[in-house]
């Protein structure tokens, strides 16, 4: 049997080489399928890497509370907000909560300095922000409680903003405009570089109360509360306590749903996992369909090839080949064909993935683990064998005399 298999492999190789163009076209479906899959896997891998890098950057153990707005209450205009009192509640009344910081988006408009403009994310925050996010100033100082209490027009900027506005290397003491309002630069944050193509330094931080005063609606401000937990292993217990406290503060009846949501990093990670597993599912679909198409291509050409080689099969049977010998020969040929297509596809997909990754600035170099490539190659061979079964058994079941007589 081994001899027959070796000989079949040799014969299959000779056959494939003798009909290079046809073999190539036969296996094209498999080739394109694997190329696409490998390229997409490479890019997904890149995504995953950069996103986990982002998580690592998110500052570990901080949790976030935000108002929960369903689609219905968004549409009915009954928009929900957190209450100011929620802040103090978390600060002073819930055991196990560490630092507490409100954060609000302050869409004041473009930043400008002389003729230069920039479009940073402007956030209204308090001094605690530094402790929660673990981001520190490179120059000057961070915001202090007094900035907030007296609604000072001071700003701490990210490096990108400094660059965009062409501020001096040490811009502390300069004045910039956010929208129409003037702010004094008191500090510059440490640079965080780019993650996943996005500059992480394009932001400006102003005191929370200043932001609230400048964005108009003083009664209802859409803000989030970030907080840390003093004992990391208590996350769930603290979350439960925060939930209870907030429900009471929001006067929710026992049968009412929470009107807020507490997100922990692992929840974000879970959401991300959901997205990647969706991606994997979609990817699996693509793989399935493309390999199905590729397999059908192989089956079709193999069926034609069996018909063309009917006489040859008859000769082999006359010489003593059993059904199994013929079956093995054609299965090996089909498997080898799609294996070759798969290997070429992997190489092309690899190149494609790297090329695309290189085109996206700051995209991490895509890498497909070796096992994935080998797995894909093995899978291709299996697809070839599976789709080779029909033609191969057609060949194996030929009647020797009729096969010999075939013109």
């Amino acid at each position: 049997m081994i001899i027959v298999m070796i000989e079949s492999l040799r014969a299959a190789m000779a056959n494939i080489l003798a009909n290079r163009l046809r073999s190539f076209l036969t296996t094209l479906g498999i080739l394109i399928g694997t190329a696409a899959v490998v390229a997409v896997v490479a890019l997904m891998q890149g995504f995953a890497q950069s996103i986990s890098a982002q998580f690592a950057d998110l500052g570990g153990g901080s949790l976030k509370v935000e108002a929960l707005n369903t689609r219905e209450n968004r549409l009915s205009g009954d928009y929900r907000y957190l209450k100011d009192s929620d802040l103090d509640l978390l600060r002073y009344r819930v055991e196990g909560v560490g630092h507490v910081a409100p954060i609000m988006a302050a869409p004041l408009g473009t930043a400008s300095h002389r003729a230069e403009t920039a479009t940073p994310f402007v956030l209204g925050i308090t001094a605690e922000y530094q402790m929660i996010e673990r981001r520190f100033t490179r120059l000057g100082r961070f915001l202090v409680p007094a900035d907030n209490d007296t609604r000072r027009r001071v700003v701490v900027i990210g490096d990108k903003v400094r660059e965009d506005l062409k501020l001096p290397d040490n811009p502390v003491g300069s004045y910039i405009q956010l929208g129409r309002e003037w702010f004094k630069v008191v500090g510059v944050m440490e640079s965080r570089g780019e993650v996943f193509g996005f500059n992480q330094d394009n932001y400006a931080l102003i005191p929370f109360e200043t932001a609230r005063a400048l964005t108009g609606n003083k009664a209802k401000v859409d803000f989030e509360i970030n907080f840390t937990i003093s004992q990391l292993d208590e996350v769930e217990a603290v979350k439960a306590r925060v939930t209870r406290a907030l429900r009471i503060n929001h006067n929710l009846k026992f049968d009412e749903e929470d009107d807020f949501e507490i997100q922990s990093p692992d929840q974000i990670a879970k959401t991300f996992e959901k997205i990647t597993s969706m991606g994997t599912l979609v990817l699996g679909g693509i793989v399935g369909i493309s390999l199905l198409v590729g397999g059908i291509g192989i089956m079709t050409v193999m069926l034609v090839s069996v018909t063309e080689r009917t006489r040859e099969i008859g000769i082999l049977k006359a010489l003593g080949a059993t059904r199994r010998d013929i079956l093995v020969q054609f299965l090996i040929e089909a498997g080898l064909l799609s294996l070759i297509g798969g290997l070429i596809g992997i190489a092309i997909g690899y190149g494609l993935g790297h090329g695309v990754a290189a085109l996206i600035p700051n995209f991490p170099p895509a890498s497909v683990p070796l096992w994935a490539s080998l797995g894909a190659a093995a899978f291709c061979a299996v697809v070839g064998v599976v789709f080779g079964i029909m033609p191969a058994s057609k060949a194996a079941n030929l009647d020797p005399i009729e096969a010999l007589r075939y013109e």
Binding site: I3, E7, A14, N15, A318, G320, T322, I401, L404
Partner: protein, 237 residues
Amino acid sequence: MSRALIELSGIVKRYRMGDTEFEALRGVDLQIQRNEYVALVGPSGSGKSTLMNLLGCLDTPTTGRYTLNNRDIGTLRDDELAAIRNQEIGFVFQSFHLLPRMTVLGNVAQPLVYRGIPLKERERQAAESLRRVGLGDKLQHRPNQLSGGQRQRVAVARALVGNPSLLLADEPTGNLDSRTSEEIMALFDALHQDGQTVVLVTHEPDIAAHCQRTVRVNDGRIVFDSAAQATVSEVAA
């Protein structure tokens, strides 16, 4: 055992074509001893090839009993028939039936693949067989680089490579000119001299004349057998 190499009794072969059945062999009884040299003759369509295919285990009779080398062929499974074809029988066809993409050496070595013989040994045996038919210098040629006579020699070498007990040839000279035919027949004569059992089909009297025994088939029956004739005349004498 001292039984004949081939024993056919009551062999009937029917072909079904749509609703009609055609009886190609209508009760054939035949015995062939080891080292006989037999010519099957008869008009076209009389059933010679059908009979040869049965002898070569390429086909099985509709009814009747075929014993080859003391084995009842009728009881064998498909893969056992393949093994018999591989080990007991060498078949030579009118149109050579060589594998066009393989070298001469590869063609002759092919039957040995199904015996699980490794490459080197296969090639050694194949080369020896080719030397026997006078083609020791053409091992790496392709069939299409050879003349008809040379191709038929390759086919004979392939039939002989596994030392079969029975060499069958269905009109081996049918596609050859008379000079080349004589060369091929000289080869068969020599093989018979070496002890090989040979059964061949031919139309041509001068080809049949090479053989010791002539069996004439007509309309699916044996109508003349020179061996039986001899027996009959011996009895008469």
